[in-house]
Every structure is written in C-alpha cells, then in structure tokens.
Subunit: 224 residues, 2 copies
C-alpha cells in the first residue's frame, strides 16, 4: 500500500477532475478493458439487502443512439460523440416486492441464503417495505427505492472512470414515460421487469470545465 | 500518474474489500483527517442540476447514538462500536421545488448562475419536475428524487473509505417516520427543510466477511 496521504490526494484529484462533461471528443474511444473495469465497479456496488435491482444497458448501436438523442434533451449534446453510453435500468415492482419470484431466486441462487432463514428474511423485507419505508403505497415508492440503488452504481462508475482519467456526464434530462416507451419498443425492458432510472455518457472532454462550485463544508456537514 | 493497470487493480481491490460491515471494533477510531477526507468526497459528489439537496449529520454524541440504536434495527448492532456514524438528510419539497427560496439562493450564491439565465433555467427545472420525471404528483416523488442524490454521496463516501482501508455499512433499517420524529426533536431537520434519507456507519471490521456474491457480468450488463 502506498503512502496514505498520496492516495487520498489522488482520490481528491479525481473528484476535482470529474465534472458533468458538456461535450465529448468524437475521435476518442475508451479502451474496452477500461470500460469493462468501469462496469465492474457498478456490478460490485452495494444495494439494499443485496438485491442488485439494476441492469446497465450499454448503447453503442448508432440508430438507437440517434433515437435516444432525439428523445432526451439531456443526451442531445452528448450523442453521438460520447464513447460509451449507459442506460441504468431499475427493476420494477414485479421483481422488487418482497414475495417476488426474482427475489426468491436471487436470494437462493445468487446470495446463497440458507433455505431455513429465507422465509424469516423475506418477512423482514416485507416489514421494511410495508412499514419502515412505506414502499407499498402505490407503484412509485418501490420503484424509486430500486432507482436509488442504481444511483450508487452510477456514482461508483463515474468516480472510478475519473480515477483513470475518463470523463462522464450523468443524465436525468428525459421524459420517463417516453424513454420507457422507446426502450420497451426496443425490447430492453423485459416485458415490464425493468424501467429507466438514469443515464450516463462516458468519454473524453473537448474543453476544460467551469471551476467547480460547492456549498461550504460547514454548511453541508453537521456534527452532533 | 502511476501505471493504469496497477491503479485499476487497486480500485478493484477496494471494491472487494468493501462490504456491509456487520460488527465494528469499538477500540479503533478513524483519524480525524481521514474522516474529513471521506466527508469531502460526499461534499464534492455530483447531484441533479447541481442542487446538493443533502446534509451529512455526523453523530458522535453517545446519548443520541443510543436513541438511534434503539430506534433503528439496522443501526442496532453497529452502535456504539462504529467510529463514525452519519445520517444522510435530504432536502424536502420546500427547498427542492423549482420555485423555492433555497434553489434561488443556491443558484445565485453557490452555483454563480448569471442573473439573466436564472429564470429560463428554473423554468426548465419546472418542466423537468412537472412533466419529465413527474415529481410534483404528491409529496413523495420530489423527496425521493432528492434522496436519490444522497445515494450518490453515500456511494462515493463508502468507496473512498474502502480505498484507504476503512470499513462501512449503509443502513436503511429504520422506520422513516420514527427517525424523522427523533431527529426533529433533536432539532436536526431545520423545521421541515430536511428529512432522513439513509444512514451509514464507518469504522473497522472485527471479522472477515462472507465471500462477496454478485449476479454474473452478462446478466447485469447488456450491450446493444
């Protein structure tokens, strides 16, 4: 392990390097192994109860990129120039509700939960969803809860990218209904098991950003 | 800049090192400068439109820690042993709706938006909130949208911690209403401007975790 102060400084440098990149260089491609590394940081991200309620769709097809460009004001200036373009999907209620087939399968075959505690665990999840976070009041809260988890993956992917000198731009600039309709037509939502959460473009900047602005430390952090 | 492959490997190592730590060593304290570094990665995190709709409350007071321990099943086994304990607050509708005083002030005095484009920008935000993400249908969607941003800060703080050998555990195991009531009584919600989003404990593990489980790469990542 290198000197900790050097390491912390390098990480800080990455946080200052990262910015919502306005315009990407169309002539620069992220090497495959670097983008796979970025995706890996998303895949290894934590999620509530370890449910991994996400999918990362990497859109490289020019025709689909053009459709997304036209459907999303946030993506408009980033496509087609961005080297890689990711749509973060979140799993919908059919998969994330406590008694879903997806969760049963995931806990058994991915998380390797012992059979004898599975039922007890899922009743804890039910209590959490019903009473603690009140996620079962309508469709939206449960979906937004899954969506929150995708922001963890998004954050890790953007930061990891910055640490190896790759730029990114997170994108919420789209109409959710329209984008879901487009993605559904393209067969990417698996018959309603997924919906769009957020998007991100990755590549290399063409110009330096404005200086970063943030609220002062003592406004954002409170000690009690 | 060091060799990129080494750097990528070190970051991957941090992702494997990080796990939802079950039990913290009560005898080990995170050095102040390390915890400030972790908080800085949260403060420098990106957020939608740059609104920074968050506050990080570091709870070190033993009496308040005990109250949180009793009110949160997720925090129960982490307190009082965790070195540092953070409550991520999200700003409520009164601050995050497009025409709020907070946003006006934030854009002028923090983001340094030129006066002449402020109105146009805020009408774009209104359109986004009303039509694109449909955040104005009830109280909850707008709040969950702010909450999503706090998960970006949470992710960055946990990953940065892991990169310098510090453990963490994200915590959603609490009743939102009860925790908000407790935090309100403690005067931490600024008369309804904030609500609880998520929590995290930081410190040092007492034992090695179970092997990490994740869905296979090709299940989580799709290329089109």
């Amino acid at each position: 392990m290198r000197n900790k102060d050097t390491l912390k400084q390098e990480i800080m440098d990455a946080f200052h390097f990262r910015h919502a990149t306005k315009e990407f260089d169309p002539d620069k491609q992220i090497p495959d192994e670097d983008f796979r590394f970025i995706l890996e940081t998303g895949r290894l991200s934590p999620s509530s109860f370890g449910f991994e309620p996400w999918r990362f769709v990497v859109v490289q097809n020019p025709e689909l990129r053009e459709k997304i460009k036209q459907a999303s004001w946030g993506a408009f200036s980033k496509l087609p120039a961005a080297s890689h373009f990711v749509i973060f999907l979140a799993r919908t209620k059919v998969d994330t509700i406590y008694n879903s087939d997806y969760l049963q399968d995931h806990l058994k075959n991915v998380s390797h939960f012992p059979e004898e505690i599975l039922e007890k665990f899922l009743s804890k999840v039910e209590e959490f969803q019903r009473d603690d976070f009140k996620l079962l009041d309508g469709e939206r809260p449960l979906y937004d809860w899954a969506s929150k988890q995708t922001y963890v993956a998004l954050a890790n992917m953007m930061t990891a990218a910055a640490q190896i000198g790759i730029d990114s731009c997170p994108i919420e600039g789209f109409n959710i209904e329209k984008m879901n309709q487009l993605l559904d037509e393209e067969g990417l939502l698996e018959d309603g098991h997924f919906g769009i959460s957020v998007m991100a473009a990755f590549g290399y900047r063409t110009q330096d950003p404005r200086p970063k602005t943030r609220r002062p430390f003592d406004d954002v952090v409170k000690w009690v």
